[in-house]
């Protein structure tokens, strides 16, 4: 199984040739990649903590506690805070990480003017868009990964909200309200 995975990976690498999307001899590539993974993991973690905290608080407010029995009961006519309000800034870390990733397009472009002017070589290559591709591919891919994570988390949070909230407390049009 592992051998097959390695074989497939090698085949894909050969086909895609990822080196075509990077800057030749770009030293900070690995550091950038590791920073990205770190920032992404941190943003996801913060997002989860933030959302779960806010959701728990909102959900708790639907109930009152009978201090004699210790049981929880729904308030009459209690309505859950809208999903959009619970969500709040939960995904902001991921958007910020995406923006930081995009700023690396400029950092990479400026790198081509350091030590030597390799920008001159990349600017006079006969392949159209080569310079942009090499400067922007990795930052754009990373920014896209952030947005995908943000979307997946949004779906996850929405599912949690819809499943864990008592039906009678749900206000209508929750999904639509996110985009308003």
């Amino acid at each position: 199984m592992y051998a097959e995975y390695i074989k497939l990976r090698e085949k894909l690498i050969k086909k895609i040739r990822p080196e075509r999307f990077g800057l030749p001899g770009y030293d900070p590539e690995n550091r950038e990649k590791n920073n990205f993974i770190g920032w992404l993991a941190f943003s996801v973690f913060i997002s989860l903590v933030f959302f779960v905290g806010r959701y728990s608080n909102s959900r708790d407010r639907l109930y009152y506690k009978d201090y004699e029995t210790g049981e929880k009961f729904l308030w009459d006519g209690a309505i859950m805070t809208d999903f959009a309000d619970v969500l709040g800034w939960s995904l902001a870390g991921l958007f910020l990480t995406a923006a930081i990733c995009l700023s690396y397009i400029i950092i990479r472009y400026n790198y081509l003017n350091k030590e030597s002017k390799s920008i001159y070589l990349l600017r006079r290559l006969p392949q159209r868009g080569e310079l942009f591709r090499r400067c922007a591919a990795a930052p754009l891919l990373r920014a896209a990964i952030c947005l995908v994570f943000a979307f997946v988390l949004l779906l996850l949070y929405f599912a949690i909200y819809m499943i864990a909230t008592p039906d009678q407390c749900l206000a209508p049009d929750q999904w639509a309200k996110i985009w308003r």
Binding site: P24, K117, E130
Partner: protein
């Protein structure tokens, strides 16, 4: 042929090229001479499309775009290679992007200059970096080879060797446009001299015409620039008189 028609380049507070019009046919070695800031680098960068300009520059009658840019190569004292890559890696990169890249010329010149093929260029001496920059420009398979002060930092023997190699390897269709301060040094190698001053072409002559007139290139340059031979003597006598 590269043709410039009324090319003007203005920077804030300075005009780097003023209404430059000239033709650079194939098969010439052209010397581009001028003092610092005269517009030599701007001239080359305009041809390569690195900067915006007013006017028109064509290559074999067509505007210079990604379609025909491979016909022009460029060597600069600022160096346009990737410092973390080795010559061997550059060879692979050039071969991938320039179909006319000449392995034979690259390998031959690498051997001639005794450059290590697998060491990162950032570890090369300035002279070696210059040599490699020029090797790349010559091996690209371009018809027009632009060189902007390519030997700044090389010793005289090195440069001398290089000129000889250059003359030996160039094909009849290849044109070299060499921007340099070293007028006397290249006077035997260039077939045409273009003088640029404050962004204007102030002289354009073939060395064979100069020979017919029994005039050296240096004399032509001095004449064109209105060089006053007595300037130094006057200045010295003035200084010594004042001190006396």
């Amino acid at each position: 042929m590269i043709e410039l028609k009324n090319v003007t380049k203005k920077y804030p507070g300075k005009t780097a090229l003023k209404d430059v019009s000239l033709q650079l046919p194939r098969g010439e070695i052209v010397g581009l001479f001028g003092e610092n800031g005269a517009g030599k680098t701007t001239f080359m960068k305009s041809i390569l499309g690195f900067i915006r300009y007013d006017g028109e520059i064509t290559l074999d009658g067509e505007p210079i775009t990604t379609k025909n840019i491979a016909k022009i190569s460029f060597a600069t004292s600022e160096h346009s290679f990737f410092p973390n890559l080795s010559p061997a890696m550059h060879k692979a990169f050039y071969k991938e992007h320039f179909p006319t890249f000449s392995d034979k010329r690259f390998d031959g010149l690498m051997k001639f200059f005794e450059l290590p093929p697998y060491r990162a260029l950032k570890n090369f001496s300035t002279g070696q970096k210059n040599q490699f920059e020029v090797i790349l420009a010559l091996s690209q398979g371009a018809d027009y080879i632009l060189m902007d002060e390519p030997f700044a930092g090389n010793d005289v023997f090195n440069r001398e060797d290089f000129y000889k190699v250059l003359l030996g390897i160039l094909e009849p269709h290849e044109t070299v446009i060499l921007s340099t301060h070293l007028i006397e040094e290249v006077s035997d190698f260039v077939g045409r001299a273009i003088l640029i001053r404050e962004g204007k072409i102030v002289g354009d002559v073939s060395t064979s015409d100069l020979e017919d007139q029994n005039m050296s290139l240096m004399d032509y340059v001095k004449q064109t620039y209105n060089y006053r031979a007595d300037r130094v003597i006057r200045a010295l006598s003035q200084i010594t008189d004042e001190e006396g």
